[in-house]
């Protein structure tokens, strides 16, 4: 088993009457690119700030590596945690040039700054001031600066949301590559599902102040533990079913389950196939055509709605009757 880079146990934090974190648990493995994914206001930034040492938790403990950094009557100041931070706004020191920003930290090994500037592809721009850099370049300076003192872990708070959409996926790949190259554990916070799923080794989904599920991206998407997580991660429709003897039965087929009695199926549109069929149990309500694919909404015999994401053909029309085949579904209690 790999060592853990960050361990949070039972953290609680409130701001006035607002509860930001409530019994928050998190384990981040050494060397992982780990993401906390949650809607805005769920407390994910607070969690990051507590790990970084900017805020003090009211209860619970935080370890970085094996060092206890926050706990009852203990608060190791940020400067003694060896935790790097990349902010959403990059927070480059505006009065220092690129080199001075990257070499700002205490205890940097000789040659480290040049090596990092090389790594992030900014060699030759040492004398530039932050305002003379593009958004992507600023991002890389912030990253190099955080990596310079060789932190045990780097925290990134929504680091791509300040970049325009065209640039974002490119910068995302770059950052991932740099972090892999540097071999540093990274904990990253975002509200963007696609970003979380495409970048991470592991994703922790957060809601209302606590982590609700942690898994590899594919497992998380295909095996969500609750309807809420399922809907939060992507398009999902729910259809009633009845479970008996290890199988959930519905008009759409049967799926294995350990549940008994009334239940529901979570179905993702890409797992639905439609066939034109005059005798079919469903009919098309509407269709959105995107070119490379189409999203077709249908109503089933019982009035339940379902969406199917299909290739550009066939050309479904509203009102057309269809039969439905579902490849994969997750069974949840009702």
């Amino acid at each position: 088993m790999p060592d853990t880079a960050i361990t949070c146990i039972g953290i609680g934090k409130r701001f006035g009457p607002t509860i930001a974190l409530d019994d928050f648990h998190l384990d981040v493995d050494e060397g992982d690119f780990h993401t906390i994914l949650g809607p805005s206001g769920c407390g994910k930034t607070t969690a990051l700030r507590i790990i970084a040492g900017f805020d003090q938790p009211e209860s619970g403990t935080v370890r970085v590596g094996s060092q206890l950094v926050a706990g009852p009557s203990l608060m190791v100041p940020s400067e003694r945690r060896r935790v790097g931070m990349v902010f959403q706004d990059f927070a480059l020191f505006p009065h220092l040039d690129v080199e001075a920003n990257v070499s700002y930290a205490r205890n940097i090994r000789p040659g480290q700054v040049a090596r990092l500037l090389e790594l992030v592809g900014l060699s030759g721009l040492e004398r530039r001031m932050p305002h003379q850099l593009s958004g992507g370049q600023q991002q890389r300076v912030a990253l190099a600066r955080a990596l310079a003192p060789e932190p045990r872990v780097v925290l990134l708070d929504e680091p791509f949301s300040n970049l325009d959409a065209a640039l974002r996926s490119h910068v995302r790949d770059e950052v991932k590559e740099i972090l892999l190259e540097a071999g540093t554990t990274a904990l990253f916070v975002t509200h963007d599902q696609e970003e979380a799923l495409s970048l991470s080794d592991r994703v922790s989904v957060m809601a209302e102040g606590r982590i609700v599920q942690t898994d590899r991206p594919a497992d998380l998407y295909r095996q969500p533990e609750s309807p809420w997580v399922a809907s939060f991660l992507g398009e999902a429709d729910f259809v009633r079913a009845h479970a008996e003897g290890g199988t959930a039965l519905s008009s759409l087929g049967s799926f294995p389950t350990s549940l008994q009695g009334a239940c529901q199926l979570m179905i993702r549109p890409e797992n639905v196939l439609l066939f034109a069929d005059a005798e079919g149990p469903g009919h098309v309500i509407s269709r959105q055509f995107f070119g490379h694919d189409q999203l077709v909404s249908i109503a089933l015999a019982g009035g339940e709605r379902l969406r199917a994401r299909l290739g550009p053909a066939p050309d479904f029309q509203a009102g057309e009757r269809v039969s439905v085949k579902v490849d994969e579904a997750v069974v949840f209690p009702l």
């Binding site: 970084a52 205490r106 955080a146 209302e208």
Partner: protein
């Protein structure tokens, strides 16, 4: 199940508990500002009311002060509203130029304006000379109420102008258009739309002008109008018994506190100050005739409030020197004024920094209390600041009596908010993220402050220091009471030579003072009344 609703990241940046050391430091600097006033009020109460002052004296002074204050407020508001409206709501053009020019009178202290009135009128007056040359009678010397009103209106209308300009710019044109569409006439729109929107700014600037008139010492004392400040100074200077001066000062402090409280309660709410972006309103179009009248009005106003004073002083000085009257070098006073002002500027700016950090970086009730105390105390009449500290010096801290440190305490008391304002504004511009990143890179709070925060707020701190320098240069009443014996600043010299009738010397010293204050004038123009 708990709920987490707000964006906690934003909250937490300001939600941290302040370090004890910072709280201690801030408290240590503000408590000395409050104590002298408490002591003054306590001494006044302990001294008793009976027999301290002749019967009816208090009522007489209150009436005189009220009359002066009322007239100055009316005059300053009418002129200040006029200039602000002309430069923002009409197509007059040159708004920025006019706003700068209209604020120019701020470089001339009220006691210099009093000197201008004394040297410009009367049989020897330079303005009288011009009137006589045109076939008129010499102008009478406007001693008493008339002169005091003239001097104070000229020194205060720019404050009204400066605080109304932003308010008038924020006026939402949509409201006026709706009123127009609903068939409201021009007068009704003025009342229901325009005044309703600038009302808070108007009320607050009127109260601040009132506070200024209440507090003025220089003009009323030189022009011989009997108000609280003049009476306090005469009582203090003429008697061994300190009780009358103490009692009068205590009453003045209470009146000023009432006005300050009233101003606080009517001040426009924050949201309105920051304000959303409104579409710039359609400007009132001036006909050619009216445009000419408006330009003439503004030109004459600037001429009489700045040009005439400078010309009168210069002419008097030239005439006096030509007649062989000695000017007496004021260079040692200039040196003293500059060095004491630089010292005050540095001290006040340095003291403002921890308080500003406390207020902007932490959620601390103590910080808010300290800041409010600093603002309140600074708005009290300077003469009472001087008297309160004098009282403390004489009775409790005799070694400090008539020493520079006590004078510096007075400067901090009076001018702290001038440094606090720009320093806080600069700190708000610096994202707390920068400081946090620095900490995460292994730098201690002090190193972070030295390497990140201080370089980034340097300009704001300097602006604050510049403002303190300018106002210290001009400060009269507290300096007069607290200065070490023989320690004559430029302001004190102007006041004493004027009151002794050595107008030529006073004129020269005044010209020097105006020149020194005029150089960094743009500092003052860009700030509103609270900072000026």
């Amino acid at each position: 199940m708990s709920t987490a609703v707000v964006d906690a990241g934003v909250l937490s940046a300001r939600g941290r508990r302040a370090p004890v050391r910072l709280l201690g430091l801030a408290t240590l600097t503000v408590v000395p500002l409050l104590f002298p006033f408490g002591y003054l009020l306590w001494q006044a109460l302990a001294g008793g009311w009976q027999g301290v002052l002749p019967a009816g004296r208090l009522a007489e002074l209150a009436l005189n002060t009220l009359l002066l204050t009322g007239l100055v407020v009316i005059g300053a508001v009418v002129i200040g509203f006029g200039t602000a409206w002309l430069t923002t709501r009409t197509d007059l053009g040159g708004a920025r130029m006019w706003s700068t020019v209209v604020a120019l009178p701020l470089v001339i202290p009220s006691y210099v304006l009093a000197l201008v009135l004394l040297t410009g009128t009367g049989r020897q007056g330079i303005l009288s000379g011009m009137v006589v040359a045109l076939g008129g009678d010499p102008l009478p010397i406007p001693r008493g109420l008339l002169g005091a009103v003239l001097a104070l209106v000229v020194s205060t209308f720019p404050y009204v102008h400066l605080s109304l300009v932003p308010a008038l710019r924020r006026v939402d044109p949509a409201l006026d258009e709706i009123a127009r569409a609903l068939g409201a006439g021009r007068l009704k729109r003025l009342r229901t739309v325009l005044l309703a929107q600038v009302g808070p700014a108007l009320r607050s600037s009127a109260l601040l002008v009132g506070l200024y008139s209440l507090a003025d010492f220089g003009a009323v004392s030189l022009l011989g109008y009997d108000t609280f400040t003049r009476a306090i100074f005469l009582q203090y200077a003429g008697r061994i018994d300190r009780r009358p001066a103490t009692l009068l000062a205590a009453v003045l402090v209470l009146i000023a506190l009432a006005v300050i409280g009233l101003e606080r309660s009517t001040r426009p709410p924050r949201s309105e100050r920051k304000g959303r972006v409104v579409r710039p309103g359609s400007l009132h179009r001036l006909s050619n005739g009216r445009r000419f009248a408006a330009v003439t009005f503004l030109t004459l106003l600037v001429a009489t409030s700045v040009g005439v004073p400078v010309a009168v002083l210069a002419a008097w000085w030239v005439r006096g020197t030509a007649a062989g009257r000695e000017t007496v070098a004021v260079w040692s006073e200039v040196g003293r004024s500059i060095s004491v002002s630089i010292g005050a500027a540095l001290a006040v700016a340095a003291i403002a920094i921890p308080i500003a950090v406390l207020v902007t970086r932490y959620r601390s009730r103590l910080g808010a209390v300290l800041e409010a105390s600093a603002w309140t105390v600074s708005a009290l009449p300077h003469l009472t600041v001087g008297l309160a500290l004098l009282l403390v010096g004489v009775t409790l801290l005799l070694p400090l009596y008539q020493t520079l440190p006590l004078l510096f305490v007075a400067y901090v008391t009076m001018f702290l908010p001038q440094a606090l304002g720009p320093t806080e504004a600069a700190l708000r511009e610096v994202s707390p993220n920068l400081e946090e990143v620095s900490r995460s890179l292994g730098q201690s709070p002090l190193q972070t402050f030295r390497r990140i925060t201080m370089p980034l707020i340097g300009k704001g701190v300097l602006t604050g220091a510049g403002l303190v320098f300018l106002t210290t240069m001009k400060e009269l009443p507290a300096t007069l009471l607290l200065r070490p014996t023989e320690f004559e600043t430029l302001a004190v010299r102007i006041w004493s030579t004027t009151s002794e009738g050595f107008y030529t010397r006073a004129a020269f010293a005044s010209l020097v003072l105006i020149m020194i204050s005029a150089v960094p004038m743009h500092f003052l123009v860009s700030r509103d009344l609270r900072h000026a």
